[in-house]
Structure formats: C-alpha cells, structure tokens
C-alpha cells in the first residue's frame, strides 16, 4: 500500500528532492554511456600503480555483485532488493534504490586485467585495477 498525503510533508524538503531528481536527469549526456550519475554512485581515482573504483552500493550480499573487465571496460552489476512494505503498513517515504543495476567505466589502456582485487566493506565496493609496470614513470638517463 502506498500512502500519499494530501498535504505535502514539507515544501522545502520536497523541492530539494525535486532538484536532486532534476540533477539526476539533467541535460544532454556528455558521456556516450549516458549520464555521469546513476546507481550505484561511483568515485574513480588513480595512482601510479593502480586505478581505484569505489561503487556506493549499500545493503548488498557480496556474492550477488558482478565485477567484470572486458576490452578495457569495467562493468559492475547486480540487483538490489530492499525490504518491502509489510502488509497493513503505510510507506511514507520511498527514496532508496531497488532493482537491477549496471554501470560501466572505461579504464586506461595500461591496466593489467590480471591484477584486480575487489573488496566490499560498509556498503562500498572497491575495485583496484593494477597498471602495467611499463607505464609507471620511466626515468630516462641522459648520456
């Protein structure tokens, strides 16, 4: 049962939510794989030795998370199940993501697909992809 009040709970909170939803769907996507936002939210960073991807996917069973690297693309997919509304209860707020998801990140050319590790902790999946040693800053001696 989905309960909707005739009176908005709080105008400013609703406006803020609207703004956030607009941000999510905002504007023409610059990336060929669609918007830069989606579920799960992602942060990407790199060091000289590795590329680090953090995917914010709380409440998952680690076994149900799929991490794949193919042709220089890292794909994170899975399905999130959230506790439904029990019988006889009313849902006042329903903001959490549920359902299947998939996000793709293109990796730099110098990654080593055999040096990948993935850790799931506190609802964040961290994928660490090693870079080939050749690409690590090569110092050239001047004769």
């Amino acid at each position: 049962m989905r309960y909707r009040s005739f009176f908005p709970r709080n105008l400013f909170a609703d406006l803020e939510r609207l703004q956030r939803e607009m941000d999510l769907n905002a504007g023409p996507a610059a990336s060929i794989r669609g918007g830069t936002r989606g579920y799960p939210a992602m942060n990407v960073g790199s060091t000289a030795q590795s590329v680090e991807i953090f995917a914010f996917a709380p409440g998952m069973d680690p076994a149900s998370l799929n991490v794949q690297i193919e042709k220089g693309l890292l794909t994170i997919s899975g399905e999130r199940k959230v506790d439904g509304v029990p019988q006889g209860a009313a849902a006042h707020i329903d903001e959490r993501f549920s359902g299947p998801f998939r996000r793709v990140v293109s990796l730099p050319d110098d990654i080593d697909a055999n040096a990948v590790s993935a850790i799931y902790r506190d609802g964040v999946l961290r994928v660490s992809v090693g870079r080939k040693a050749v690409a690590q800053a090569l110092r050239i001696d001047i004769q």
Partner: protein
C-alpha cells in the same frame, strides 16, 4: 514524523552533508526507517534523539591509497546527515538500531497510550 528543514539548514551552515535516501514504513505499532549510508563504518555512525528530533549522522571512512588523484567524483562530501521530527506518540526512549553493509534500520515503537484502539462508531 516529518523532516525539519529549519534545523537542517542551520546545521548545513556549519558543515555540508549529503542527504541519505530513506524508506519509512509505519504500521500499527510503530515506524521502521531504513537509511542508506554507504561508506560509513559503524564507529563513525551517530544516531541520537535530541528533544523531539531524530538525528542521523555518519562520516565516510574510506581508505584511499597514498597519492591517489580523483578523476571522477560523485560522492563529493564525506558525511551524511538527516534530521526528522518525531511526533509525540512515538516512544523515543525505545528506538532500536541495526547497522549492516551501509544500511541503517531503525525501529521506533509507538508509546503504550498511542497503540491502536478500535473506536466504535455509534449511530446517533
């Protein structure tokens, strides 16, 4: 239970925080709240009741390798905060909390006197 914008705006001035998404279900005996706080370790999660406000706060505890340069950032503020106003029939003394894999589950029971009672409608 309603959100308290005034308080949130005030606290925002101190420190910016992300608004965690929540689900709130209410049944006859109380309210169940789920909040997504990915990246917050249990020891950096703070759930408390102040007066009639329920405050949920958490700080990210991600471990970054040394010298990491961010190239794409979607989670750009390292903390979450959300404040709700509890209505009087909720028993704030008996809030039960569970936290696992970045999901907080709160159960706030209704006070004894507010438990459901069937009222007979009389035809007058």
């Amino acid at each position: 239970m309603s959100e308290n914008t005034v308080k949130r705006t005030e606290s925002k001035r101190e420190e910016e925080a992300l608004l965690p998404p929540v689900n709130v279900h209410e049944d006859a005996n109380g309210i169940t709240l789920y909040a997504d706080l990915p990246g917050v370790p249990k020891e950096k999660l703070d759930v408390r009741v102040e007066g009639d406000s329920l405050i949920i706060e958490g700080e990210l505890g991600l471990a970054f390798p040394e010298g990491m340069e961010p190239s794409h950032v979607e989670v750009d503020i390292p903390r979450y905060r959300r404040v709700f106003t509890l209505s009087r029939e909720l028993d704030s003394q008996k809030v039960a909390a569970e936290y696992q894999n970045g999901v907080l589950k709160l159960r706030i029971p209704k006070a004894e006197h507010a438990q459901p009672r069937k009222i007979t409608v009389q035809v007058g």
